[in-house]
């Protein structure tokens, strides 16, 4: 059992936003597969169809996607969130996005009747005009939005950060000043792939964000820097597909990990990561994951 921003998780693996999170039923399915907590698809103020396909492709080193924040709006998502809350006992975190603080408040208030266990603020989607990283690379805006949501809701607020900035720690500090209970790092890394038969960018949106194996070292460094700068917990995400990745992320400073693209290999990935973490702790004489969180900062 792990306690994270006051939430009780049976293990420190969390389903990342945007993965199997469009419907209440898919969140419940994942919860049954040994996930410690689940994060919903990012939900906004209005229905959005997202970008044209291709919206996700597997590359040689990871996955490239530009979904374009498709979502049914908070009004239509309420029933999905209610279903998830009713059918599972694992914490359900609502990921939300908007163009400004008012949007975020509207969505948070709109979803609150379903009693999400926490909110995750998406200020980091790398490929949606006017949303996500467009606002998440400005520390003042991040602080303002975080403060607005924290003042308005009575559950923990996590802020998901973009790595596509010069200094992620300064954005993390802004979230912390705004009252965030945790930061989540990282969202995808801006990237692009081109079809060499024709020269066409493969994604419908032309460019998007890279996830998977290739970005793990980037995520580890971001988590490492955030751990040095912040007092609030950090949830590590980016290229975690096996227990070794989770341990590495924790040693950089993560209190828990989120898993996304690795669902491609099978939805049972969470259980095997959680078991692997337990075995590692046992074998190395650690009592809890607290013993290894941030270890990389202490050994040198």
């Amino acid at each position: 059992m792990v306690t994270l921003t006051g939430l009780k998780l049976k293990n420190p693996t969390i389903l990342a936003a945007g993965i199997m999170g469009t419907t209440g039923a898919s969140l419940v399915r994942m919860a049954k597969k040994g996930v410690g907590a689940v994060v919903t698809k990012s939900i906004g103020p209005e229905p959005k169809e997202g970008h044209h396909n291709p919206s996700m492709v597997q590359l040689e080193c990871g996955f490239l996607n530009a979904m374009g924040l498709p979502n049914p709006s908070y009004k239509a998502f309420l029933q999905e969130l209610e279903f998830a809350k009713k059918e599972t006992s694992v914490p359900v975190i609502a990921s939300i996005f908007g163009g400004d603080a008012d949007d975020f408040l509207k969505v948070a208030d709109g979803l609150s009747p379903a009693k999400p266990d926490a909110f995750e603020l998406n200020v980091s989607c790398p490929h949606a005009q006017g949303y996500g990283a467009m606002i998440g690379s400005d520390p003042y805006v991040v602080e303002e939005i975080t403060r607005a949501v924290c003042d308005s809701v009575d559950v923990p607020v996590w802020v998901k950060l973009t790595p596509n900035v010069t200094d992620i720690a300064s954005i993390g500090e802004a979230a912390e000043r705004g009252g965030a209970d945790a930061v989540v790092a990282i969202n995808t890394v801006r990237a692009m792939a081109i079809d060499i038969a024709t020269g066409y960018p493969i994604l419908g949106n032309r460019f998007g964000g890279l996830s998977g194996e290739a970005i793990k070292p980037i995520a580890v460094k971001c988590v490492y820097d955030l751990y040095a700068a912040l007092d609030i917990p950090i949830i590590g995400v980016g290229g975690v597909s096996k227990w070794q990745d989770a341990i590495e992320m924790m040693m950089a400073g993560a209190s828990a990990v989120q898993v996304g693209s690795a669902v491609f290999d099978g939805i049972g990935v969470f259980g095997s990561i959680a078991d692997g973490i337990d075995n590692y702790l046992d074998k190395n004489g650690h009592v809890t994951i607290e013993d290894i969180i941030g270890l990389a900062h202490e050994v040198i």
Binding site: S26, E49, P70
Partner: protein, 261 residues
Amino acid sequence: MRPINVTITKMIDESPSTKTFFFDRSFESAIPGQFVMVWIRGVDEIPMTLSYTNAITVQKVGDATSALFELKEGDSLGIRGPIGNGFTLPQKDEKVLLIAGGVGAAPLAPLAEHVANSGTWSNVTTILGARSYNELIFANRFFMTGEIHVTTDDGTQGRRGFVTDVLNDIDILEYDKIYTCGPEIMMARVFEILHKADAHTRAEFSLHRYFKCAIGVCGACCMDPHGLRVCKDGPVFNGELLVDTEFGKYKRGGSGIRGRV
């Protein structure tokens, strides 16, 4: 996988609104019922089941398919696949019933040929339906593989009515394996009849939902209430998995909002 480049070698008009596009590339390992993501560059990427190992059969229904219809021989497409679970192939000597509506004949015709080529001639029975005589797809391919019952809504060919009218008249339990593909409303009626006869567990349904990632990650095509992904856990599902589900009732569009099937 990145999309691979294929060139259109031939196009055949199957009906006023349906065309078959042949490529210069054959997907020999494809199991009938599997699909490919067809990238019409600069427009969209859409799922299509293979109607031959080297072709797709497409009905013009929206922007992407309209753009596809503008292409000519020699033009190219990007293809990812084959993806998903195809039909469970019948054992030798099993009696097979196919129920196809409209362009739903596309994945069933290669299945019929597979069965006919590996088993005995008389083992495939097809119920093929369409709105009108000129919308019947692959009637000849089904005719060549066994027995065929044709229905048209307007009675211009075969029996006037629906595929379910034929289904109601035959002894369903004579068949070991039943496969169906067509408009969801049609498949839902087929499902009801098979369920009543307790034959739904020997039936497989080829489903359609809006796909985004198409590789089982994003969850956009998940069905209620079990969260099964049509792109990865399907698109072919045994009838047992469809009992008391959203199948036949509603489906989600690109934004995730529920709409009519």
